[in-house]
Structures are given as C-alpha cells and as structure tokens.
Symmetry: C2
DNA sequence: CCCAAACTTAACCGTTTGGTTGAGCATTTG
DNA sequence: CAAATGCTCAACCAAACGGTTAAGTTTGGG
C-alpha cells in the first residue's frame, strides 16, 4: 500500500534508472524539454506506458512536469542524480569522472555530445 | 548499434544498486573482503536470500567471489560502477562531486557497517 | 568415515513491475 | 456545443523480484 513511503530517495533514483526506457527518456530530455506525446513517439509502447514511466521519473525527482494548457511538459532535473552520484563515488578508485571515457560514452549513448545542448538552466 | 550490449550492462548495474540490502552489502565490502556468512550476519534475512543478492551483484560485475576451501570470499569491484557513474555525469549540471555531501553521506551510510567480520587474510 | 560448516539450488509464494486496452477528464478548436 | 487532442486512471495480465524453507553439494575436521 504505502510501500512508496518506505523507499529512500536513493532507492527511487536507482529504481528509476534501472529501466532502459526511462534512461532513454532522460537522454532525450537532456536535449530539450518535451511534451508527453513527443517523449512517447520513438518508443514502441503505448502512451499510457510512457506516462507511467514519467510518473516514476517524477517521483524519483529526476524530471519535473508542468502542465501548460493541455500539454504537459517534461523537464530534466539532473540534481536528483547528485546523491546517487555521490553514493557511487564513495566506491571510487576512479576519483572524478574519467573524461575520456565520458566522451567516448556520450558518443555511443547520445550520438552527439551535449556540450552545447543543455536544457537552459532555469 | 553496439550500444545495446553496454546498455544491458548498465541495466544490471542499476538494477543491482536498486536494492538497499545490496547497497549495504557493497558498503560493507568497502571496508574489507568478506565471507558470505559474514556478509549475511547483520541482515534479518536468510542466508539463501543473501546468497542470491551476492549473485546479482556478481552478475552486475560489482563484486567478485573467490572460493578458498569451503569459504567464498566476496570482494568489491568498484570499476563496474564507472560506466554507470559516467552515464550519470552526462546529466551533470553538478560538475564534480560535492565533497561536503560526500562526507556527510559516508558518515550516514557507513556509520553502522560491521567491523568485527574481517577475514584474516588481506 | 561421518558430521558440521559454508554455501547454493529448487520449489514455492506474495508483491511489484511493465505492459495492455478502454474509459475518462481537461483543454483547445471548429 | 461538439469533436479532437493530450494525457491519466482503472482493470487486468504475465513476468520478474525478493523472500521463505528444505534439500543438496563441497570442504574440513574429529
């Protein structure tokens, strides 16, 4: 029932990141804020399924959603990743992020590096 | 794209990190290698449950297990976190890790890890 | 050898997850 | 107002998850 209340913020963030569809959504939102329908478009699942994913991401704090008219805009909230990042860094032989690996990864993951494509920082 | 293979590795790492018991296990292993029975001791679940958790962590590459005699030693493999860390950093408004938050977090997370369970070897 | 220790595996169970379809609500448009 | 658009909710389903207990396997020791 109220199982959600038990979950720590960290639980919710990691749980949200487990699903590859949700990670892909976050990558998409890295480029721009998007409406729910547009988020759903590239995926081979129903709009309702994407709506659920967006709820999960919202509850994890990874995105925010703002309704303007009948359109609900989704915006990346990268700050929510900080605690999880900090947690992971505590295991770090790797101190900070290896920038080479970072760029290689971005090329593979996003196709184009987001060095200039940040969602306007608010 | 070959990104698929990477993504499923990420899947496994994030899925493994979702469970708070498994994160606690990783924190314990941060201090020392441990036998399965000793890993299980502070938890209120069966040994079989912990054994399953350790299998999940192993398959995610987050730990390795080496059998010496009848004892299976568990060792942290923090390198497996690098890809996930890199992925998260790609969303980083937050540049590097906030060291204050890091230390505060460690105190909270590691403050009650067992220290009576060290293997004799090193 | 035989038993205990240290794990793992198998079978099972309730809950959660991710998906579906269809109905419903709010808003914009005609 | 009516209809279309944008999105969520409800009901349902199969599969995965995390837990259990019980049995099995391997290793070490009296």
């Amino acid at each position: 029932m109220a199982a959600d209340a038990d979950l720590s913020a960290l639980d919710r963030v990691f749980a949200a990141l487990t699903d590859p569809t949700r990670r892909a959504i976050l990558s998409m939102l890295l480029e721009d804020d998007m409406a729910v329908t547009d988020v759903a478009e590239p995926f081979d699942v129903s709009l309702a399924a994407i709506s659920k994913h967006l709820t999960v991401l919202t509850q994890a704090g990874l995105i925010s959603q703002e309704k303007r008219g009948r359109v609900k805009w989704c915006k990346l909230e990268p700050d929510a990743l900080r605690d999880a990042s900090v947690w992971m860094q505590s295991f770090g032989q790797f101190e900070a992020v290896n920038l080479d690996a970072f760029e290689a990864f971005l090329e593979k993951e996003l196709g184009d590096a987001p060095d200039d494509t940040r969602p306007s920082g608010g």
